[in-house]
């Protein structure tokens, strides 16, 4: 089997390790480009959300590269993501006539048996090796997140623009190559040190901005047009609300045991939106409030065009923003959104935040 999977931020480094480890050839999902999106847009329904289109495009490109099996995750709603693969499968097979197998992992707590069957089918190593592999994959994912998190802190302080991003790319390559947990830990430590010893300007007090929104557009730099890095280069400290490993613990691991995660966020959101509405809708409200309480200067909400939960959130956020006196910029992303437009809007927003901080008696540089 030649297996491919969705491309989401840096997570491919982890999944590659896992799938190769259990004995299959991996067709790496190519990082999305304009062409990916064009392909996806051509065959996806017009109002499908952006992640749907990008993923469909990614699958088509991976099929061109020889993939014959797609592994993806399912879900239970109430949002569309859980139905993605169902429909993508029909588009690929019925409409485009591709002979691909599509394997969907449904959430554990609904389907232990099904998950077990899929695993039995896929795994060509013994249980001990498999558990070892899972651990290695997890460590890699943790390492990737640790690097990114640190880069958000260092980037606004860097003296030489771009130096942080260079270390980050190197670190990702190192983690990709590492073949044992120990090596993963070593290269991560080294790269974190390197990042910390980059020339930094300790006198800056960067603006602090929280980035919230739908998981795919928050995690995939191509889709959000590098919002996080762009803000960093503007001298802004960015706190990204979602990291894949945190999200996995809160939503997959806990869910498997029927424990509800992210209670603090949900609790914060309750006065404005007491209902779970799927996607990250409720989180977007809750996180905005928590950022306000932590003294952040502003929040950027990222949402795909037609994203249902984020539209609900967007309708409510202006009130939250008024009540907590915290500026929020909502960016609705679709296939026509251009990087230049986003940069302009971010610049204007950052200027506004800077003026606001000065007015409130704070300092920046």
């Amino acid at each position: 089997m030649k297996i491919t999977f969705p491309h989401m931020g840096t997570s491919w480094i982890g999944f590659k390790t896992l799938i190769e480890g259990i004995g299959h050839e991996v067709v790496l999902p190519p990082p999305p480009t304009k062409r990916t999106l064009d392909l996806g847009t051509k065959y996806a329904p017009e109002f499908a959300c952006l992640p749907f289109k990008v993923l469909l495009g990614t699958y088509l490109e991976a099929i061109e590269l020889g993939a014959d099996t797609i592994i993806s995750s399912g879900g239970v709603g109430p949002c569309r993501a859980g139905y993605y693969t169902q429909l993508q499968k029909r588009i690929l097979q019925e409409q485009l006539g591709h002979d691909v197998r599509v394997i969907t992992f449904e959430p554990l707590n609904r389907n232990w048996v099904g998950t077990y069957r899929i695993f039995r089918d896929l795994i060509r190593v013994n249980l001990r090796e498999f558990i070892g592999l899972l651990w290695l994959t997890w460590q890699k994912l943790l390492a990737l997140d640790a690097i990114e998190r640190e880069s958000h802190r260092v980037r606004p302080l860097e003296v030489n623009t771009g130096s942080t991003s260079r270390v980050v790319s190197k670190a990702f390559a190192d983690i990709d190559k590492a073949d044992s947990v120990k090596k993963v830990k070593d290269v991560t430590r080294d790269n974190l040190e390197k990042m910390n010893s980059l020339p930094q300007d300790a006198h800056r007090h960067p603006l602090k901005v929280g980035v919230i929104g739908e998981i795919y557009v928050v995690l995939e730099p191509f889709v959000n047009l590098d919002v996080v890095e762009t803000l960093g280069h503007m001298g802004v400290y960015v706190h990204r609300s979602i990291f894949l490993t945190d999200w996995t613990i809160e939503n997959t691991v806990l869910d498997a045991f029927r424990v509800e995660g992210e209670m603090n966020i949900k609790k914060a959101a309750r006065p404005y939106l007491p209902e779970m509405i799927g996607g990250h809708g409720q989180n977007s409200i809750g996180e905005t409030i928590l950022y306000a309480k932590k003294g952040y200067d502003g929040v950027v909400q990222l949402a795909p065009f037609t994203c249902i939960p984020e539209i609900v959130a967007k309708s409510i956020i202006p009130k939250v923003s008024r009540d907590y006196n915290l500026p929020v910029l909502t960016l609705m992303l679709d296939e026509q959104t251009g990087k230049a437009g986003i940069s302009t809007r971010l610049e204007a927003f950052v200027d506004l935040l800077a003026m606001r901080r000065v007015r409130l008696g704070g300092e920046i540089a």
């Binding site: 996806a44 329904p45 017009e46 109002f47 499908a48 959300c49 749907f52 399912g74 239970v76 709603g77 109430p78 949002c79 569309r80 859980g82 139905y83 169902q86 429909l87 029909r90 588009i91 019925e94 409409q95 404005y272 939106l273 007491p274 209902e275 779970m276 509405i277 799927g278 996607g279 809708g281 065009f305 037609t306 994203c307 249902i308 939960p309 539209i311 609900v312 967007k314 309708s315 409510i316 202006p318 009130k319 939250v320 609705m332």
Partner: protein, 353 residues
């Protein structure tokens, strides 16, 4: 003074108004319904919503705004799950929260949370809490609830008998006045005495009878039956010579029976109903063509529309028209497309004979 409770004439109104009205009136309140959708209402709605919202949500905001100043409460139930399986579209789940955040100066909202997954009696308990808020006693509330449920069931039965919501609401009202007399089930009987009963034929039969085609028009009730939003779609189709079937005309039991054909259920109640009704039409070979009425930017419909398209293709390439409506849709444009589609169906039917 009796409390006045406003009900916006949109979204869940089309499925539940008779039930809600019965309940509220039996509790001794006065029910005020917002007027039918107009350009004015839509413009108000646009003012209060984000640009990305779908047209039904905009329309709903407009209807809420139209009630301000006329009522003491506005009823916006939080419909979470009514079939115990799927939920409603996330925009329904956060409906009252959006309203509260975007419209200033609205009267207090009544937002019973209706989630049958919490137990068979959960909706009833939610409604009883509404009664308490309105100051009605427990026993009165319980009787009102019982009656409301029966009226609601009757209303559904009428819809399944090919009545349009506007007509069925009148008939349900009439029966309620004579409650608990046995409910008239034959259509003619149900219709006798309702003001709008004119002809003997069922309302969805073609008015131009020379060239009949059987057409299913599927979509969410709040789209299909809002004449302003659809630019009079159903009436126009009838005058073009089409007999029309809608999802509500398929009895709930038959819709449910089709569920097994879905490899995975959709997550949204009304979307499932659209798909299942369509499968019912397929199975019974009832239709010559399918029209899907959908709202610009509707999230669930992006999925539903593609599924229907692929399914029609599997049904021997059954003609399929997807009609996407928004606040700028003009009557002329829609008419042209409908005419072309119906003409094609007539021709195709002739060829097949």
């Amino acid at each position: 003074m009796t409390a006045r409770v406003g009900v916006p004439r949109s979204l869940a109104y089309y499925a539940f108004y008779p039930q809600w009205k019965t309940y509220l009136e039996e509790l001794g309140t006065e029910v005020v319904l917002s007027p039918p959708t107009t350009k004015d209402i839509i413009d108000q709605g646009i003012k209060y919503t984000v640009t990305d919202a779908c047209i039904p949500i905009k329309v709903f905001h407009g209807h809420v705004a139209a009630l301000i100043g006329q009522v003491d409460y506005i009823l916006i139930p939080r419909l979470v799950s009514i079939d115990g399986d799927a939920t409603l579209c996330p925009k329904f789940l956060g409906l009252s929260d959006m309203i509260k955040a975007s419209i200033q100066g609205i009267p207090p909202l009544l937002t019973p949370r209706l989630d049958i997954r919490d137990g068979r009696f959960a909706p009833m308990k939610a409604w009883l809490r509404v009664a308490k808020k309105l100051g009605a006693g427990r026993q009165k509330a319980w009787l009102a609830y019982r009656k409301a449920v029966q009226v609601g069931q009757y209303y559904e039965a009428l819809l399944a008998n090919h009545m349009l919501p506007s007509e069925a609401m009148l008939a349900a009202d009439k029966w309620r006045a004579s409650w608990p007399k046995k409910r008239p089930l034959s259509l003619a009987e149900a219709r006798s005495g309702i003001a709008s009963a004119k002809a003997s034929k069922t309302p969805m039969e073609a008015t131009a009878t020379s060239r009949q085609v059987q057409l299913a028009v599927v979509g969410y009730p709040y789209m299909l039956y809002d004449d302003y939003v659809t630019c009079g779609l159903l009436t126009n189709l009838k005058s073009l010579g089409a007999n029309i079937l809608t999802p509500e005309m398929v009895p709930a039991k038959c819709r449910k029976a089709q569920a097994k054909k879905q490899p995975k259920y959709l997550f949204w109640h009304y979307s499932n109903q659209v798909i299942r009704a369509t499968y019912h039409f397929f199975e019974e070979k009832m239709i010559d063509g399918l029209i899907h009425v959908t709202a610009f930017g509707c999230g669930p419909d992006a999925m539903v529309d593609k599924l229907l398209e692929l399914d029609c293709r599997k049904q021997n390439r059954l003609p399929y028209l997807s009609l996407c409506l928004d606040e700028h849709t003009g009557v002329a444009g829609v008419m042209t497309r409908l005419e072309a589609f119906v003409d094609m169906l007539v021709r195709r039917k002739g060829d097949l004979r």
